[in-house]
Symmetry: C2
C-alpha cells in the first residue's frame, strides 16, 4: 500500500498489556452505558448528554453550536438528534433573537422531568461500571491519566465542555 518507512516502534509487553486493558474500556464502556440508558429510559447516551447539558444551564437554553461542543458531537449530528428530541416534546428550537443565524435549543418542562427521572440510573451505572471497581487512589490516577490522554485528542481539550465546577489543577 505504502512505503515500509522507518522501523515502527512496536509495543513492549507492558505497553501492550496496558493498551489492551484500556482498549477493553474504550470499546466496551460506551456500549454498556448506552445499553443502560436505552433499556431504562429509551434514550441514547448522546441524547441524554444533550439534555443533561441543557438542564445544567440557567434558562435551560443553549445555542446549537455551543451545545454541539459541550456534547462532543458534530453540529450535523446534533441537528438530527435535536429534531428527534423535539418530536418527543423534550426540546424546542427557536432562532436567536439577537442574531438570526444562531438557533437556540431549550429544554421543555417535559424534557427536564425526563432528565430528572433518568439521571439517577445513569449515575448509578457510571458508579457500578467505572468507580466501584477502583480504590480512591485509582480514581485519582485515572483522572490524571484521562486528562493527559484527552489533551492529546482535542488540543484545546474537550474539557472546555462539560458542565461542572471545574475545580481541577
Amino acid at each position: 500500500m505504502s512505503d515500509p518507512g522507518p522501523e515502527p516502534r512496536w509495543l513492549d509487553d507492558e505497553e501492550r498489556a496496558a493498551w489492551r486493558a484500556m482498549a477493553g474500556i474504550v470499546f466496551g464502556l460506551p456500549a454498556a452505558l448506552d445499553a443502560q440508558l436505552q433499556r431504562d429510559a429509551g434514550v441514547t447516551h448522546f441524547e441524554y448528554t444533550v439534555m443533561a447539558a441543557l438542564s445544567e444551564t440557567p434558562g435551560r437554553t443553549l445555542r446549537m453550536s455551543y451545545l454541539a461542543i459541550l456534547a462532543n458531537g458534530s453540529l450535523s449530528r446534533l441537528s438530527h438528534v435535536v429534531k428527534r428530541l423535539e418530536r418527543q416534546g423534550w426540546v424546542e428550537r427557536a432562532p436567536d433573537p439577537s442574531d438570526g443565524r444562531y438557533t437556540t435549543a431549550t429544554l421543555t418542562e417535559a424534557g427536564w422531568e425526563k432528565v430528572v427521572a433518568t439521571a439517577p440510573g445513569h449515575v448509578e451505572a457510571v458508579r457500578q461500571l467505572v468507580l466501584d471497581p477502583l480504590s480512591k487512589t485509582h480514581v485519582r490516577q485515572m483522572r490524571e491519566i484521562g486528562t493527559r490522554i484527552s489533551h492529546g485528542l482535542s488540543p484545546e481539550g474537550s474539557c472546555a465542555a462539560w458542565p461542572s465546577p471545574t475545580s481541577d489543577e
Copy 2:
C-alpha cells in the same frame, strides 16, 4: 417517568473530575483511531481488528464464532464485515470440513499484505495518542485500572483477543 427510588449516590467533585477525564477518552479515542485507519488505509478499526486477529493465527484461519469473540463484536456484525472484506479479496470463507455448521474465515495473501502495510501506522497512532502522554508509572497504573473496569464489563474478560504488530513478540 419512574419512581424516585432511594436517594441516588451522586458523584463528588473528585469522582466527577475523574469520570469526566475518562469520558473524554472513552468517547474520543475510538473516533481518533478510526480516523487514522480510515485515512491511511481505508479500513475501519473493527475491520482491522478482524484481519489482525486472523494474521496472528497459525494458518491465518479461524471460525467465525471464535473470531467474533476475539474481535469483541457480535456474530451478525462480523458476518457483515467479513462479507465486505471478502469483496475486497482480503478474506475468504469456507464451511468447516469437520462440522458444516461452522464457517471458517481465512486471510488471503492480499489480506496479509494489507495488515502488514497497515499495522505500523496503527501502532504509531496508539503510541502517540495513548502511550506517549504517559510516564512508565502511568502506563502501569492504566493497566491496573483498565483491567479492573474491563472485568466488570464482560466477566470473562475481553482480554483473550488482541491485535498487535503481526510479526514481533
